[in-house]
Amino acid sequence: MTHGGQTLYAKLWDAHVVREQGDGEALLYIDRHLVQEVSSPQAFEGLDRRSLRFRRPSAHVATPDHAVSTDVSAPNPRDSLMALQVRRLIENSRKHGVPFVGETDAAHGIVHVIGPELGFTLPGCTLVCGDSHTSTHGAFGALAFGIGSSQCETVFATQCLPQSRQKTMRINFNGRLSPGVAVKDVVLALIAQIGTEGGRGYAVEYAGDAVRAMSMEQRMTLCNMTIEAGARIGLVAPDETTFAYLKGRPLAPQGELWDQAVAYWRSLPSDNDARFDSELTFDVSAVVPHVSWGTNPSQCSPVTGRVPDPAAEADPSKRGKLSQSLAYMDLEPGTSLDDILIDRVFIGSCTNSRIEDLRAAAAVAEGRRVSAGVSAMIVPGSAQVQAQAEAEGLDRIFREAGFSWRSAGCSMCVAMNADRLSPGERCASTSNRNFEGRQGPGGRTHIMSPAMAAAAAITGRLTDVRELAEEAA
């Protein structure tokens, strides 16, 4: 790399090269590792089998999120696979001296929600987790990506991973979001356009005045969904919004160290003359609320649209995929999207379970009732989010509207705890993946923003949230 003209990604990469290995490969130093119960048991087992110890236990934080029960009235049975997996994480963390946050602790939550809350996630750091949505932390200008269990084990023992340098893509979002439109809509519109492999091989940096205007919560939603466009890494340059969010967090630097850190973080944004391998620009003011109708996140459309017709698809392989998706989703071509009736609503997940998400959903739910026959739940991303929402009275709004109010966890984003769809059930969900069976075998998922999911709960069908706003006005 020459002086000047560097991208944020290049700066993060260069600052973590332990040893160049040629051909754009390097051994990278890993500053932070979030450890959860699903991807870690075999990594701990591997470490024990080799009689190795953690190189730096305090560079890791462990907490269970995927398998925990979020229903306080129905804890996981003691001998259930869920409870066994959580217990294994507790035992492994204790044995290896890894800082552990338990499921009833005040700091508990989904790894991608609590990392930032604790100030564990910092600009300029490298952060990994055995979870593909680790891209979330890129919102802070951290080089963060999901890894497999074998790589978790390697990080346990060495704090390093061999990596290939990615190409760089800058996506500029300009303009202002229209009322009723969320960042989730923007990112769904992006994925609909560039596809599920549009970002493959790239580290994506989001820029533009719309991104600068976003809160940290919004930036996290954006970076979180980057993996659904095929890129492991989504980045936003750190700025005053980032620093204001982090200041005073338990693991964020303090006093003189804080000033020193901020001075360094200010040097991280891409230089004005930095060159990207690919660059795209979008006007977000034209984006309208989106919903998915298919079985991958690129199969989504404005809610004002219709279910597409495979017969109109010229490419035979795409036609086949489309037909298969619609068959699984039990949807007829040409159906108005807002005529699709739903059975369940899930507001939560590492994509959309932060305080601003719950506020947006509560604004729609307030003074209204969940439609008869619809079962709707709100699952805060962390105990802190839960406490904040309760302090603001959001839980009361949700309960009065007929939503069930849960404690923190991954819940129905991923069918490995008690919250799942039954075969044939259709769900309006704020999670990230509408894959076949993702929320339970045979379940049908429509992904959308928190406000859109709340609107669907009220009407019992996919609904343009802007109609409810008009009704209230």
Binding site: Y29, A67, L118, D131, G146, S150, S164, A261, G437
Partner: protein, 212 residues
Amino acid sequence: MIPFHTLTSRAIPLPAADIDTDAILPARFLLLLSREGLGEHLFHELRRNAQFALNRPDLAGAQIIVGGPRFGIGSSREQAVWALADYGIRCIIAPSFGEIFYANCINNGILPITLEGEPYEGVLDAADASVEFHIDLTAQTIDIGKRSPITFGIDASRRDALLSGRDTLDTILHDDMEHIARFEAQQQDAEPWLWIDETQFAPFASIGGDND
């Protein structure tokens, strides 16, 4: 890790696009704590369909999958790759792969071959026709009995890792511990705030303690 040199086997055609890791191994099987035996649950839902190519009697014991575009996208679960390996799969040929899945394959001795266009179509037809494949990683060729074998590309470092069967962690422990120590000393000096003191965790996390 078992080294990969050559492989002779028929191939299972699964050309559908976007076969994600939730389809390869549904999430509820991630609750199992061991990596052994996951092959039983491979493609759990899809396998119920008698027409699913994994169920073809003529392809029983096949060690190759010819997948579709974006094979293995989605969740980072390495269990999906363990399930494939446990079932006996040693090689996957597809037009493109999910990135994390691709890395997980390499780390488990499964050869992922990226192939597009005519060569891919040829391989897919051969899989469908139950033709025997002969794959040579050193030569980077797939021989399906045609006049000249199909060549494929793969990064040298990944090819070497598969050929040697060497383990990433062992390699780092053997080659790099001094480099790592040197890096850490420099970083502690330049970015001391990245070095969390154990006491900072006390207000919200527990460290160590007894296991009951």
